[in-house]
């Protein structure tokens, strides 16, 4: 059973009719019904194309958070062979909101770091809904340093509403952990690429997305604060999230314009969740192209380019 979003209602209605006809077709005049089904299905896909060609930032927010949207674990299975996760920050614990380790990407060894939200109650709790604690970022730092030592590029897949706001996270230095992870990205003498596959939530995202190449899926969002958070602070009204989403410019298309994102990875019609295989392949190709562009650069040059890229952001607006 597909989950339809509020604004996908016209498509849902057409698809419901198709289902109805299909059920009828099993008993009645198969030919006439077959024509009608084809007609309705083409109308449904046209409606979907129309809706998705002009998604508002708030609608994109819902697509980016869609429960059926491919998560880190799907990318990891499709793109990374011999994935070997490593646990723990060697200081306090292991945080499953960040999954990290080493794997082969199209034959070559790489470090993989991803934020995983989980896809059912049990896994969501295990991954804390993708909201990392300090241990998650410290694990990421450990893996980055290891990758740097052995000359392996780092691939980060970003999908988080933000770093976890809890007492334990604060008392173990959430802010410092995020800052050190950003710093670790900037110190890497190997290339790193980051892909925002769903939500890029604030400091929790930049800690992994300070990368030589930053990419974003077509309907992903990347933002300094969630639209709901901005609404409750700036408008003092959570229901203004739609306005906040629009005003903050959180879409891939806007962020390319600001020079924050290098590449937008196209999603299949109707969003990544409608054809996961297509988006996994497209993401793999984009990662491969970004890594290829960084291959062979000396460590100092990689560091210099990454720093200058970030220093240049905003200077020509």
């Amino acid at each position: 059973m597909r989950t339809y979003l509020e604004f996908e209602k016209p498509v849902a209605e057409l698809q419901a009719k198709v289902q109805e006809l299909k059920a009828m077709g099993e008993s009645g005049d198969a030919v006439a019904i077959g024509d009608e089904i084809a007609r309705l299905e083409s109308r449904a896909s046209q409606a979907l194309a129309d809706i998705y060609s002009k998604l508002t930032p708030w609608q994109k927010t819902q697509v980016a958070r869609h429960p059926d949207r491919p998560h880190f674990v799907d990318y990891q299975r499709a793109l990374f062979d011999e994935f070997t996760p490593l646990a723990g920050d060697r200081k306090f614990g292991d945080d499953q909101a960040v999954v990290a380790g080493f794997a082969r990407f199209r034959g070559r060894p790489v470090a993989v770091i991803g934020q995983e939200k989980g896809n059912d109650t049990e896994s969501r709790i295990r991954h804390n809904f993708g909201m990392a604690r300090p241990e998650g970022y410290r694990k990421a730092v450990r893996i980055m340093e290891l990758a740097d030592r052995f000359g392996l590029p780092v691939v980060a897949l970003v999908d988080t509403a933000g770093a976890y706001p809890g007492i334990d996270a604060e008392e173990r230095g959430q802010a410092e952990a995020i800052a050190r992870s950003t710093e670790a990205c900037l110190k890497l003498g190997v290339g790193n690429v980051a892909v925002v596959i769903g939500e890029g939530g604030s400091g929790g995202a930049i800690a992994l997305a300070t990368a030589s190449r930053v990419m974003m899926l077509e309907h992903a969002i990347y933002s300094v604060i969630s639209p709901e958070g901005a609404a409750s602070i700036l408008w003092r009204d959570k229901s203004r999230a739609q306005d906040a989403a629009t005003n903050m410019r959180i879409t891939a298309q806007d962020l390319v314009r600001f020079g924050v994102v290098d590449t937008v990875i196209p999603e299949p019609l109707g969003g990544a969740h409608r054809d996961p295989d297509a988006v996994l392949t497209a993401t793999g190709d984009a990662i491969a192209a970004s890594l290829a562009a960084l291959d062979g650069l000396p460590a100092d040059e990689i560091r210099r380019q990454r720093r200058e890229k970030f220093l240049a952001i905003g200077r020509n607006l």
Binding site: G166, E170, Q174, A175, L186, S202, G203, T210, S223, G314
Partner: protein, 305 residues
């Protein structure tokens, strides 16, 4: 009708302001309610004389109080793009900026000065909470970078007085980009072999703590300052529990190993000067310079042969 708006309104405003002045002469201690005459408070570096409560301190005042004789050279700060998002919440961002500039006399939330502290040359940056909550946007990010660059150019330590509610939401993703950008600045200090000292003042939260404010070689906090990544209200709403006493205060951070020391404002100058002297490039020290001070190992080596 326009001339009425233009001409009459300012007069009314100035009348209102006049009425406010007498109230501002006395400042109330938020802890004890004690009333202190504003000149006495300033003379005491904005610390309440009886309770020791550290009031917020504006950027200009802070620089004046920090440097020897109140003298310093203002480091010129680059201008940043104005409102590239054309952001508007209940008000236009450009209007909020204008108000903040009028209110504080600052161009944005950070000022940078170069001078001496107990004779030690340093560059210091100060974040002013009165300027839109000390929020970190493009201009403030550029100021941190310019401050670190000035310190590197002069070969002197960099001192950062942080005070901020976090990233400036009206600049959207461009404010978030100040986290990596300011982190580049802290790395340039380290690579130049210069100490970076952070003084966390009340309050320092959000994206500022998730970047340059937590990356100091030495982390100092003023007493009682609220310091944390997530604001206490957000945490309370998330976990639906009351927060423990003293949570996210300077002393709590020190007890949890997150800052090196909690230092009274009156002790900041000597403390920072002393630290900077420790880290100053050392002239050849006598013990290392004189080889005859290490005779024992040579004799042992000879004996072993």
């Amino acid at each position: 009708m326009n001339w009425i708006n233009d001409v009459v309104r300012p007069k009314i405003k100035s009348l209102l302001n006049k009425r406010e002045v007498p109230e501002n002469l006395w400042v109330k201690c938020p802890e004890t309610g004690e009333m202190v005459f504003h000149r006495d408070l300033e003379a005491n570096h904005y610390v309440m004389p009886n309770s020791g409560y550290h009031m917020r301190m504006g950027a200009k005042k802070r620089l004046g109080h920090f440097f020897d004789g109140g003298e310093y050279e203002a480091i010129p700060l680059p201008e940043a793009a104005a409102d590239p998002l054309r952001f508007r919440d209940e008000r236009r961002y450009t209007d909020r900026l204008k108000d903040a500039r009028t209110k504080t006399g600052l161009q944005d939330a950070i000022l940078v000065g170069a001078g001496a502290v107990e004779g030690v040359a340093v560059v210091a940056a100060v974040q002013d909470f009165d300027f839109m909550g000390g929020s970190l946007g493009m201009a403030a990010g550029e100021a941190v970078i310019a401050g670190a660059e000035a310190a590197v150019a002069r070969g002197v330590p960099f001192v950062m007085f942080a005070a901020s509610g976090g990233a400036r939401m009206q600049e959207g993703i461009l404010s978030l980009m100040q986290l990596p950008r300011t982190t580049v600045a802290t790395l340039s200090l380290r690579e130049a072999g210069l100490p970076y000292i952070v003084v966390l003042t009340n309050p320092t939260t959000g994206g500022v703590t998730a970047s340059y404010a937590m990356l100091g070689d030495i982390q100092i906090a003023e007493p009682g300052a609220l310091i944390g990544f997530a604001g206490p209200r957000v945490i309370e709403q998330t976990i639906r529990e009351k927060l423990p006493e003293g949570f996210q205060r300077s002393e709590y951070l020190r007890d949890h190993g997150m800052v090196d020391m909690v230092v009274h404002r009156h002790q900041l100058r000597p403390t920072i000067a002393r630290l900077c002297r420790f880290f100053r490039p050392q002239a050849a020290t006598p013990a290392l310079a004189a080889p005859e001070s290490l005779p024992a190992p040579l004799e042992e080596a000879a004996a072993a042969e």
